[in-house]
C-alpha cells in the first residue's frame, strides 16, 4: 500500500540529497573535528559549511548557530540559560499553546519557585497582544513564544512581541521548530535573542537541532564538558547529522517559493474540497496568518482517533487533537486554549503537507475522507441517517 504522508508537522522524510551529504561521515570519514591529525581535522570545515547554511536559512551569522541534539534541547537550553544569567528574576511569559518542549518545562519551573504567565489566544489561535503587554513585569526574566503553532499552523507576531519585550530589556526566545523552512525568516531583524529549530521537521534526520543565540546575548550552557561549539554546547560534534542538517537548510531555502506557492495551493485545495464535499466541518485557526502546509479541520459528530484509524487503512497519515489520541480525557491544550468546543475538538484532524506532497494525493485523501466521515457519522448517535445532526443530545 502506498503511504500518503500528510503528517509533516510530526516529522518529515529525509531528503535523498541529505542522506547523500551524510553518508561519507557515517562511513569512511569518521574523524573527530577536534583531533590534531588531518584525518579528523578535515571534517571540521563540513561542520562550518553546515553552520553557514543554517545561518542563511534563518537570517543569522554562522557564529550565532549552536548545534544541539534536537528542538527540545534547544528550547531547554534557551530557557534555562535566560534564567541562569538573570537569577534575581523569577517570572516567565509564554503562551497557552506552546509545544510541550516549552510548556512542560515552564510548568516544571512553575513548581520550582518561578512564576509563569501563559498569555491566552483567541478562538482563531491569535495571541492576545494586550494581555501579552500587560504580562510583562520588572521581574520577567524571559519571554518564550512559538513562531508558529504545530497543531494549527497559526503564526504569532513574534517580531512585534520581541520589540515590546526588548524595550523593557527582557530577552526573547522563540520556538521556531514548525516555522523554519516553511516561511521566510530573518532572525537578525526579528528582535529575538534565541531561536530553536529542529532538523527532522525539514527533511534532515531526527536527533539534530539548532539554537540560534544572538551575538552579545548572555548565555549559560546546558551541557558542560568539552569546548565544542565555542564552549556553548559540550559534546563531540555529530558530524554526519550536522552535515545532513546543513544540506536540509540549503534545500529548504531553495524550496521556500515552492512551499509558499504550490504547497500552499494544495493545502488550500484540500480544505476547499473537504468543506465543499463534507457538511459540518470547520477549519481551526487563523486562516489569514498561517503556515502554508498546515490544515486543522474539525469533523463534527465523529471522533478523531476513529478517523485516523480509518485513514490508516488507506495508508493516509495525519494526526488528531482528540482526547483519545492525546492520552488524556481532554482534547489538546491548543484546542482548549482556543475555546474550540469539546464536540469539535474531539473530531479535529491535522493535515500537514511537505514539498513532496502531490495533487493526486490530495484528491485521494478527499475522496477517502468523504467515505470515512459518512461511515463514522452513520454509526454516530448524534447523526441522523438523513445527513443531519441529531439534535437533542
Amino acid at each position: 500500500m502506498n503511504v500518503v504522508y500528510l503528517d509533516n508537522n510530526a516529522t518529515t522524510r529525509i531528503a535523498p540529497e541529505v542522506l547523500d551529504a551524510m553518508m561519507p561521515y557515517l562511513t569512511g570519514d569518521y574523524g573527530n573535528p577536534s583531533s590534531m591529525h588531518s584525518f579528523g581535522g578535515r571534517v571540521a570545515p563540513v561542520v562550518e559549511e553546515a553552520r553557514g547554511h543554517a545561518a542563511r536559512l534563518i537570517g543569522a551569522s554562522p557564529d550565532e548557530i549552536i548545534f544541539t541534539s534536537c528542538g527540545t534541547e534547544s528550547d531547554n537550553t534557551a530557557i534555562r540559560s535566560a534564567l541562569a544569567v538573570n537569577p534575581d528574576k523569577r517570572h516567565i511569559v509564554t503562551s497557552r499553546v506552546e509545544h510541550p518542549a516549552v510548556r512542560e518545562l515552564c510548568l516544571f519551573l512553575a513548581r520550582n519557585d518561578y512564576r509563569v504567565t501563559e498569555v491566552p489566544v483567541d478562538s482563531k489561535g491569535r495571541l492576545d497582544m494586550d494581555a501579552y503587554r500587560e504580562s510583562l513585569t520588572d521581574d520577567t526574566a524571559l519571554v518564550t513564544l512559538m513562531w508558529a503553532n504545530n497543531e494549527t499552523g497559526v503564526i504569532f507576531p513574534v517580531e512585534e512581541a520581541a520589540g515590546i519585550a526588548r524595550e523593557r530589556g527582557i530577552p526573547v526566545h522563540t520556538d521556531a521548530v514548525q516555522a523554519v523552512g516553511k516561511v521566510p525568516m530573518d532572525a537578525d531583524s526579528s528582535g529575538v535573542d534565541m531561536l530553536s529549530l529542529s532538523g527532522h521537521k525539514l527533511h534532515a534526520p531526527k536527533g539534530i537541532g539548532v539554537l540560534y543565540v544572538r551575538k552579545g546575548t548572555r548565555f549559560a550552557p546546558f551541557l558542560i564538558g568539552g569546548h565544542q561549539e565555542s564552549e556553548r554546547r559540550a559534546g563531540t560534534e555529530n558530524v554526519p547529522y550536522i552535515a545532513g542538517l546543513g544540506k536540509a537548510c540549503e534545500l529548504a531555502l531553495e524550496h521556500l517559493p515552492d512551499m509558499n506557492g504550490r504547497v500552499r495551493r494544495l493545502r488550500d485545495k484540500l480544505e476547499q474540497e473537504i468543506t465543499a464535499r463534507i457538511p459540518h466541518v470547520k477549519i481551526n485557526g487563523d486562516t489569514e496568518n498561517r503556515l502554508p502546509n498546515t490544515a486543522n479541520i474539525s469533523f463534527e459528530y465523529v471522533e478523531g482517533e476513529s478517523i485516523l484509524l480509518m485513514m490508516n487503512e488507506y495508508g493516509i497519515c495525519a494526526s488528531s487533537g482528540s482526547a483519545c489520541t492525546s492520552g488524556s480525557l481532554q482534547p489538546s491544550h491548543v484546542m482548549l486554549a482556543m475555546g474550540v468546543p469539546f464536540t469539535m475538538a474531539h473530531g479535529s484532524i491535522r493535515f500537514s503537507l511537505s514539498i513532496y506532497s502531490e495533487e493526486a494525493e490530495i484528491d485521494f485523501v478527499v475522496d477517502k475522507l468523504v467515505d470515512i466521515i459518512t461511515t463514522l457519522r452513520a454509526m454516530s448517535p448524534f447523526w441522523n441517517n438523513d445527513s443531519r445532526p441529531a439534535a437533542g443530545r
Binding site: E303, T343, S380, G392
Partner: protein
Amino acid sequence: MWDYTDKVRDHFLHPRNVGDLENPDGMAEVGSMACGDALRFTFKLDETGRIGDARFKTFGCASAIASASALTEMVKGLTVEEAEKITNRDIAAYLGGLPDAKMHCSVMGRQALEAAIANYRGAPAETAALVCECFNVTGREIEQAVSENNLTTVEEVTNFTKAGGGCGTCHEIIRGIIDRVRSENEVTE
C-alpha cells in the same frame, strides 16, 4: 500508535449491528459528545424471551466502537438475566483485551447494557443522556423546557434549566435542540 488486537480492529472496521431498533424492549444512552464517547444501545426480545436482536450507535474512538459492536454480539441469544451478568471485563476479553487507557470503553458498554435492562424493567429511557455535564441536565429536560416555554436562545435555556451555564461546551448542542424543537413545533402547528 494504537495497541489494539486484531479483534478490536475487526469490530472497528466491520462493526456488527449498527443502528437503532424500532420499538425496542430496552434502550439506553450513555456518555456524551462533550466527554468524547457516547453509546446508544437497544435490544429486542424474541418469542422465547431471549435477546433476539441488539443494535448500537457509537460516537468515539476505535475501541468504543469495537466494544459496542462486541456487546451486541455477546448478548444475542441470552436471556435478560444471563445478559445482566456480562461485565466490562467480559467485553474486553471478548475483544482479546483492551489497552489500559481504553478500558473505559468496555465500561461504557457495560453501563449501556445495565441501563437498557433497567429500562426494560420499567425505568425511563432517558437515563444518562446528559447534554450539560456541569449541571447534569439531560437532552429531554432541555427539549421540554424549550417546548413548554417557547425558548429561542441558549441564554434562555440556561436560565430555565441551568444547562450551558458552566464550561459552555454544550452551547452548540443546546442550539441544535432549540432549532429542532422549534422546527418540529412549526410542523405540528
